[in-house]
């Protein structure tokens, strides 16, 4: 447990860095051009601690930033190498903080990364080295989550606008979800609305329509005020499909009280859209 905490606090510090963009918030987004590799990966040039530029892959599916041990050594972010999978399995993960990362017009400071010679990165690098040079890692979630990031494959550019979002701590969250998996021992996850709506939903086993039925509408509630009726078939809440009771509860768990949400439904077979604003309550 102490070990877990030690790691968690270590990483919290590493991730608490700020973003320094060379523009005011909501100014024109910052542009980062990319090249598209034949494997369809986006290749970007990144200057790290004023060294480089290095070629990295921009990957929305990567929960971590990863750099090769070569890059780690050259830029002074890590004295020791990351090693490959074998080192990782024996506990030798090398978590570091990158001082500054520059991509196109964007500068980010104190970015968490892992030094690791990832076999997939190496395979891609080897395949395209002749034309593009060595590829030294992956830019993932802890970087791009700090921005509103737009990917445009037609213009081959990324547009970034700084946002006040904390990417969180990957390892901490993983540990949490793993211990939750252990504690709950196969129990279903309980999910409830973030506010008070004022109606009940029903779905029988035999009901295989892609919607849920309204069972009851409570008097004087937001649902009643919006005109929801018993028997309405709810198709979506706030743009999310509500084919099951579970799905409907996930949808209402994401609507904060006071925010208006569109509810699409069919009433006597006719499509309708209502707006319901849940209030504070349970």
């Amino acid at each position: 447990m102490n070990f877990k905490l030690a790691i968690a606090s270590l990483l919290t510090v590493a991730i608490a860095g700020g973003v320094q963009a060379q523009a005011l918030p909501e100014a024109k987004p910052l542009k980062v051009p990319f090249k598209l590799l034949p494997s369809r990966h986006m290749l970007i040039e990144v200057t790290i601690n004023d060294k480089g530029p290095y070629k990295l892959i921009f990957d929305t599916g990567a929960p971590l930033n990863i750099v090769t041990s070569r890059l780690g050594k050259e830029t002074g972010i890590s004295k020791r190498g990351g090693g490959g999978i074998a080192a990782l399995l024996s506990g030798g993960m090398n978590q570091v903080e990158i001082g500054t990362m520059q991509l196109g017009d964007v500068t980010a400071k104190k970015v968490a990364a892992v030094v690791m010679d990832h076999p997939t990165v190496k395979a891609i690098s080897d395949a395209f080295a002749e034309e593009h040079g060595t590829i030294d890692g992956i830019v993932g979630f802890p970087f791009f989550a700090r921005f509103a990031t737009t990917v445009d494959y037609q213009k081959k550019e990324l547009l970034l606008s700084p946002r006040d979002y904390k990417p969180g701590n990957y390892i901490e969250d993983l540990t949490k979800s793993l211990s939750a998996a252990g504690e709950n021992a196969g129990q279903a996850k309980v999910v409830g609305p973030a506010g008070l709506w004022g109606f009940t939903l029903a779905k029988t086993k035999a009901d295989d329509e892609p919607s849920v039925a309204v069972g009851e509408v409570y008097e004087g509630t937001p649902a009643a005020a919006a005109g929801l009726k018993v028997g309405d078939r709810v198709l979506t809440i706030d743009g999310r499909w509500t084919d099951t009771l579970g799905d409907a509860h996930v949808a209402v768990s994401l609507v904060k009280p006071g925010r208006k949400a569109d509810v699409t439904l069919t009433r006597d077979g006719k499509p309708m859209t209502l707006s319901i604003t849940p209030v504070v309550g349970y």
């Binding site: 986006m42 990957d59 993932g140 791009f144 037609q154 993983l174 129990q187 279903a188 999910v191 109606f199």
Partner: protein
């Protein structure tokens, strides 16, 4: 020890297609053509516990399937089981055409093709339930490139703008390139989960319902209104009651737990969070100059 395995498994989602296939990359767009399409969609997403961007997709009207938006993947990948559920026919190279491919939020992607394969990363994550939700595949370049997509985690929707742009086809054969041993981790994780007694359950159970509108004023948590006919009304809660404490839930024949102080909205929310329909608990309130304790039985509803 296990932590490092997890990490290795969910690192850099880069499903391999033989990268050799050299396509003519530039479908040359003209500036005025760019403006033509531009239809905008608000796509609901969720961030998984593994920091993956999850969207829901109905394939051939079946699903919804949970797919990760992954620019590190050259195409849509979908698990064999999901492909079977959607009734997809797979050709000899492992590709399947879809009749319809609809993202939650109302976006129908015309002519979407998918690779049918069980990615080791998904297998491993699902084996342990790491993402907090079952994963059925990824959405990669062949679909992502048709849209200008904005990822903003301070917003609850992604913005997809349809481009007048046909991404060059991804024709690579289904030969996976080497994952340097990483690919052995998927099955290993599944086995490990078995040894550890982890049986992921991805089902969602609706939380119990009270029927009470709340307000926090001057540092006090007050009942603003009580929904007529609700469990809160049945328990005898009244508008104007100030909530000062709650008990943990107790089962019908279990010993009744004591009351803990609680007078803040946030704390009340955390208390309510795990309650299931049918569970009983106590709420202590100040009413006028009296302190009362009521027993509520959570019901169904929202």
């Amino acid at each position: 020890m296990i932590r490092w395995w997890l990490l290795a498994l969910s690192l850099g989602f880069v499903p391999g297609l033989a990268p050799g296939a050299r396509a003519d990359d530039d479908a040359k767009p003209t500036a005025d053509k760019v403006k033509a399409a531009e239809k905008e969609y608000a796509i609901p997403y969720r961030l998984t516990d593994t920091k993956h961007i999850l969207v829901r997709v109905k394939v051939n009207g079946k699903g919804p399937f949970n797919l990760i938006l992954d620019t590190g993947a050259p195409a849509v990948f979908i698990t064999k089981k999901s492909a079977e559920r959607a009734g997809l026919d797979t050709d000899k190279d492992g590709w399947a055409a879809t009749d319809s491919f609809e993202l939650e939020g109302g976006l129908k992607v015309p002519g979407a093709k998918a690779r049918v394969a069980d990615l080791f990363q998904l297998e491993g994550m699902n084996g342990m339930g790491l993402a907090g939700v079952e994963l059925h595949g990824v959405v990669g370049y062949n679909v992502l490139a048709k849209y200008r997509i904005t990822y903003d985690f301070t917003a609850d929707k992604l913005k997809f703008v349809a481009l007048d742009f046909t991404p060059p086809a991804v024709n690579a054969k289904g030969k996976d390139n080497s994952q340097g041993g990483l690919d052995l981790l998927g099955p290993a994780m599944k086995m490990l989960a078995g040894f550890m007694g982890i049986k992921p359950n991805f089902a969602v159970e609706p939380r119990g319902f009270l029927g009470v509108e709340l307000a926090e004023t001057d540092g006090k948590l007050a009942v603003k209104s009580v929904v007529k006919g609700s469990p809160a009304a049945a328990a005898g809660l009244k508008p104007g009651d100030l909530i000062t404490g709650v008990s943990k839930a107790f089962a019908a024949k279990g010993r009744e737990p004591g009351i803990d102080d609680l007078d803040r909205l946030k704390a009340f929310g955390r208390w309510v969070e795990p309650m299931r329909a049918g569970q009983k608990a106590k709420i202590q309130v100040e009413r006028g100059d009296k302190t009362e304790t009521v027993t509520v039985e959570f019901g169904k509803g929202l």
